[in-house]
């Protein structure tokens, strides 16, 4: 008896559900354009080597989604994100984007984080003529030359050269002018590219290269490298390194007392909260690249509101608690796409690409316009100097003056302290 009643209940439920479904289908098309969400798809590194940055990027994109939905959505429709974990594995990426476009039928796509997972997605975007917003792909579009690819890293049209241009410009401002330079970097993709650019810039500045070596990425002790550099006594030391090496090099340089006019350049990692906190005063005097720092010259509309929301989430999520390096750019990437969609009044990929190509956008990372290869039309790689860092608190890095901008002049917020040993 009991059994039957349940069964009967289920049957009635099914019947009702079917009726409801029919009703929905019959009125569906009329409602769709109004209420159906606009779906934006991407793969993101949520596990694997780049997961730290990937998670931070996801948080930023989610903040953007909440912001735009609170403001009434895109084209009056709510925005929905469809994303998959690419496990920082380039081989997973083509499958993810094919599925997003063919099966999930997303309306727009954006990239995951980093060159490794961006490059394999470009052919898929090209195949379907989709606009592809790229988040920190270093020269990823070089081989493809895809005209609907737009990249938010502010390295400009010649990333390799621009990466260190500011460093050498700043170096040549020092008095007396430096004459020699040492170049050192890890034996890996990014540092090698950075060193190629640094060599060109050093030669253009008329500096004599007295040391030019790479070290294996597995290096543990950097004392021998620093000692060798000290023995040739260069005026300027340019370093292109990944986070663990950056920490090792900064410590060795402090311990062994490097005498140089300028030290730093292309060290990845010293922008991250974890290393800044751990290295503290040892960072003083270093001149290094950055994308955004809390200086008054870079106080763009909306950036503080965004960072406040991000920082409230970041601590618990176990990602960079400050979020100056990548998150604002992940947010700006979405702002640009949204503005283009609103301005063209639809989801026509052709029109959106045209619009992004030919307009300037006001974003949380400043005004952005794109050049022919989809990179920023003009580089805005910052060179900042770490100054007046007293202890190992994270707080001090949220205030202006700990990382003053020296280059480009338009954004300059302080003066170079040289030589390096004086700034320490």
């Amino acid at each position: 008896m009991q059994q039957r009643r349940i069964f009967g209940g289920t049957r009635r439920f099914f019947f009702g559900a079917m009726l409801a479904a029919f009703a929905l289908v019959s009125i569906g098309p009329a409602v769709q354009a109004e209420d159906d969400p606009i779906r934006i798809g991407f793969g993101m590194a949520l596990t694997g080597a780049l997961a730290g940055a990937g998670k931070a990027a996801l948080i930023s994109i989610e903040i953007w989604r909440d912001d735009i939905n609170a403001a009434g959505g895109l084209l009056g429709r709510p925005v929905e994100l469809v994303f998959y974990d690419d496990q920082t594995n380039p081989a997973k990426v083509p499958g993810i984007y094919t599925k997003l476009i063919n099966i999930d039928r997303v309306d727009l796509i954006v990239s995951g984080y980093g060159s490794a997972t961006i490059t394999p997605a470009i052919p898929i975007a090209m195949n379907y003529d989709m606009v592809f917003m790229s988040l920190f792909g270093l020269a990823s579009n070089e081989e493809f030359g895809y005209d609907r690819y737009f990249q938010i890293l502010p390295a400009g049209p010649e990333p390799r050269i621009e990466w260190s241009r500011g460093f050498f410009e700043v170096a040549m401002r020092a008095d007396p002018k430096p004459t020699t330079v040492a170049l050192v970097g890890a034996d890996a993709e990014f540092p090698r590219n950075a060193l190629i650019g640094a060599r060109a810039n050093a030669e253009a500045a008329g500096l004599e290269i007295v040391y030019d070596e790479t070290y294996p990425p597995t290096t543990v002790d950097f004392s021998p490298v620093i000692r060798k550099i000290q023995s040739v006594n260069p005026d300027v030391v340019y370093v292109a390194s990944y986070p663990p090496d950056s920490a090792g090099i900064v410590r060795s340089v402090t311990e062994l007392g490097l005498e140089a006019k300028l030290f730093g350049g292309g060290m990845v990692g010293v922008q991250f909260a974890s290393l800044m906190e751990a290295l503290g005063p040892q960072l003083n005097g270093i001149v290094n690249y950055d994308f955004w720092v809390p200086e008054p010259t870079l106080n763009f509309p909306g950036i503080n509101a965004f960072l406040e929301k991000y920082q409230a989430i970041a601590e618990d999520a176990g990602v960079d608690p400050l979020g100056y390096y990548l998150p604002p750019f992940a947010y700006a990437n979405m702002q640009i796409l949204a503005e283009a969609v609103e301005a063209t009044g639809g989801l026509d990929q052709d029109q959106i690409a045209d619009y992004i190509r030919s307009n300037e956008f006001e974003t949380v990372v400043g005004d952005v316009s794109f050049g022919a290869n989809g990179e920023w039309a003009k580089s805005r790689m910052l060179m900042v100097q770490y100054q007046g860092i007293e202890d190992q608190s994270l707080e001090q890095f949220t205030e202006a003056g700990t990382r003053v901008v020296l280059y480009p002049e338009d954004w300059q917020s302080g003066k170079l302290i040289a030589p390096y040993s004086d700034a320490k």
């Binding site: 790479t214 294996p216 543990v220 986070p243 920490a247 410590r251 311990e255 991250f272 974890s274 040892q282």
Partner: protein, 275 residues
């Protein structure tokens, strides 16, 4: 200086791989696990990293014993230890890495201690305490293990297990129990090595992989199970790397170090110091 740290990691492996013939490829992962626990204590309560490493050794000893029990029950007893055992330790390595990622995220972690960033000057040579302190701790630990293996009853039993398991059974000793203890000790040394690692360099969950090749090379070079040999091999490898970096070029350091390994094995196939 670097050799001391290498020795501290290789020491545990020399016990396990050299004496017990277990290819514990997860050993560096245990080292990184130690680093993270030390980091957590340091960040939370400001405990000295190396002291914390020593405090944690009993915990790691138990962890090692448990690991060996699982390994023994599932592989060694059924006599298919070589390849599947390797897969087991590979799996273990991934589990430790992913566990650390879930708990701490993928960021690099560092510790604070009074001796980090300071140097002492011996004539014209500047020695960073960040390298010197781990070097001394590693030597003390190596000496401890050496004395344990040569002077105590249990230590001699461990060496006996390596030579002839059957003979040990004949004198009514339980080889499995002895092996379990040896494995526990090896993992306990990994914990101290982890503390040393995070004093020297920042650590992230997958940092252990970098060292797998080097550490196995040191154990082989040292003569498979000889504590003195392992320490000598680690120091020699560290010196060869440093000297090559200084005099020639850092990119050649691993090549020269491993070239030296090949040369040494060609001349002395049994390793530097035979056990």
């Amino acid at each position: 200086m670097l050799g001391g740290f290498y020795a501290s990691v290789a020491l545990g492996l020399t016990l396990v791989f050299g004496l017990l013939n277990i290819v514990n490829i997860a050993h560096p992962a245990f080292v990184v696990l130690g680093s993270f626990l030390v980091y957590a204590a340091n960040a939370q309560w400001g405990v000295d990293p190396i002291a914390m490493g020593v405090i944690l050794t009993p915990l790691f000893f138990l962890l090692g014993m448990a690991t060996y029990s699982v390994y023994h029950a599932s592989f060694e007893k059924r006599d298919n230890e070589s390849l599947r055992g390797l897969a087991f330790f590979f799996g273990l390595m991934f589990i430790i890495e992913v566990g650390l990622i879930l708990q701490y995220g993928v960021d690099y972690r560092l510790v604070n201690a009074p001796y980090i960033g300071k140097v002492i000057n011996l004539g014209s040579v500047t020695l960073p305490l960040r390298m010197l302190v781990p070097f001394c701790v590693a030597l003390v630990m190596a000496l401890g293990i050496f004395l344990f293996l040569s002077r105590t009853y249990l230590g001699r039993a461990i060496r006996a297990v390596a030579q002839d398991q059957l003979a040990l059974q004949l004198v009514a000793a339980d080889p499995v129990r002895i092996k379990r203890i040896a494995f526990g000790i090896a993992i306990a040394t990994a914990c101290v090595a982890g503390a040393l690692l995070i004093v020297i360099n920042p650590v992230e969950p997958a940092a252990g992989r970098v060292y797998i090749g080097r550490i196995f090379a040191i154990v082989v070079l040292g003569g498979m199970g000889s504590v003195r040999g392992t320490v000598a091999a680690a120091i020699v490898l560290g010196i060869v790397e440093s000297v090559t970096s200084t005099i020639y070029s850092p990119s050649w350091a691993p090549a020269v170090a491993f070239g030296f390994l090949l040369f040494a094995l060609a001349v002395r196939p049994a390793g530097l110091l035979r056990r």
